[in-house]
């Protein structure tokens, strides 16, 4: 009876590209991030000082941090999406950008006069920022769940965590186009918190939505 099945599966066999996994992930996260960026612009509005911001180092540090986190997480997912892949070790690399930005934040904190420190850390939008990032992470998270449903992850919770972090990073990058907060401690705390919440959401949903 499996003879029939094997005949059926091998008939009209289409060639498969080696880049399929990468392409699917890029498509899912890319479309999602584009939606997030469009919604950020439409609802919150992009920074009015964008031209000046492009000359600020912190604007680029924010993008590098959020996109770096997303990149590392996707690099791990590229293996986690394969049975017996080596994704778990890659997932640990996620600590690298976090440590780098935390170090930058501590350095900036130490070099700021004590009376200015509360504002350095809290900015004007700390209460809102993590929730905005979590919301902005939803479109890329949906895109990545779609991508993974055509692949074969076997460690669903870890894979869920990693697509959550990747979506959080992509969503945070979109949100950074609106957010004018210019300090490293703000980035290290409130951005990381929002991205972490997205990771938590992914880890919670993973075992349910990624089954195959």
């Amino acid at each position: 009876m499996t003879d029939d099945l094997i005949l059926r599966l091998s008939r009209d066999l289409k060639p498969v590209s080696r880049l399929t996994v990468l392409r699917r992930l890029a498509l899912g996260v890319g479309l999602g991030a584009a939606v997030s960026a469009a919604l950020t612009g439409a609802i919150l509005g992009f920074r009015t000082d964008m031209a000046a911001a492009a000359g600020e180092l912190m604007f680029w540090v924010k993008l590098a941090y959020t996109l770096g986190l997303a990149g590392v997480a996707l690099w791990a997912v590229e293996q986690l999406a394969r049975p017996a892949g080596r994704g778990a070790r890659r997932a640990l690399v996620i600590a690298a950008p976090v440590i780098a930005v935390a170090a930058l934040a501590l350095w900036q904190f130490a070099h700021t006069p004590p009376p200015l420190r509360p504002h350095l850390v809290l900015g004007d939008s700390s209460a809102l920022c993590p929730w905005c990032i979590l919301t902005a992470s939803l479109p890329p998270l949906i895109g990545l769940v779609w991508a993974l449903r055509g692949l074969a992850p076997t460690r669903l919770r870890l894979t869920g965590l990693m697509i959550g972090l990747a979506a959080g990073g992509a969503g945070a990058a979109a949100y950074a186009l609106h957010c004018p907060e210019p300090t490293a401690p703000f980035l290290a705390i409130w951005y990381s918190l929002g991205i972490g919440l997205a990771g938590l959401l992914g880890a919670t949903l993973g075992p349910r939505v990624l089954r195959w």
């Binding site: 499996t2 498969v16 074969a152």
Partner: protein, 183 residues
């Protein structure tokens, strides 16, 4: 049973769109899957056969997830184990160990075992054919030395010596290579 090298070349041809190679691959993998599920679901041949089919379909529809850098067998057993754990979860049966632990730990264990098996196959392939067959019968299949000797037309002593030398050469080759490394 086809070895890793053969499976790999069939897999790569299949991914390139070669129907014939792909059919041979699926037939070979079916035998491996039958053995895999047969061992783990003793006496439940219908369930085992269902899982074989399910795994074949899964590995077909998700064949893009095969990474040419890893052994085909590691990939296939990764899918087989996932389907087995999923089956236990669905039927609410737990054997040997809690499934939560199995999901995270056992997948890695299996891949180690598969890599070891892969290394062994590679090492065996380097031995002369006669030595390889003797070694396989005596050490892997567990056939009594007397029986192997009778079949090969050798004395028991000669078989023992050949197996011993084969093992020594195999060990020397495996020591020269890190586990899981490509040859």
């Amino acid at each position: 049973m086809l070895g890793e090298d053969k499976l790999r070349s069939l897999m790569l041809a299949g991914l390139g769109g070669d129907s014939g190679a792909y059919r041979t691959l699926l037939q070979a993998l079916r035998e491996r899957l039958r053995a895999y599920y047969g061992r783990r679901l003793d006496c439940q041949t219908a369930e085992a056969e269902d899982l074989v089919q399910e795994s074949l379909i899964a590995l077909h529809t998700r064949r893009a997830t095969y990474d040419p850098a890893q052994p085909v067998t590691a990939w296939v057993y990764g899918i087989a184990r996932y389907k087995l754990v999923d089956h236990y979860r669905r039927t609410g049966r737990r054997r040997h160990a809690p499934l939560e632990a199995a999901e995270d730990v056992a997948v890695a264990d299996e891949s180690e075992a598969v890599h070891a098996r892969y290394d062994l196959e590679q090492g065996l392939a380097d031995l002369p054919q006669r030595t390889r067959e003797l070694l396989r019968s005596v050490k892997l299949d567990g056939t009594p030395v007397a029986e192997v000797a009778a079949r090969a037309g050798m004395t028991e002593g000669a078989v023992k010596v050949a197996v011993h030398r084969g093992l020594a050469r195999l060990a020397a080759r495996l020591r020269g290579r890190a586990p899981g490394d490509e040859p």
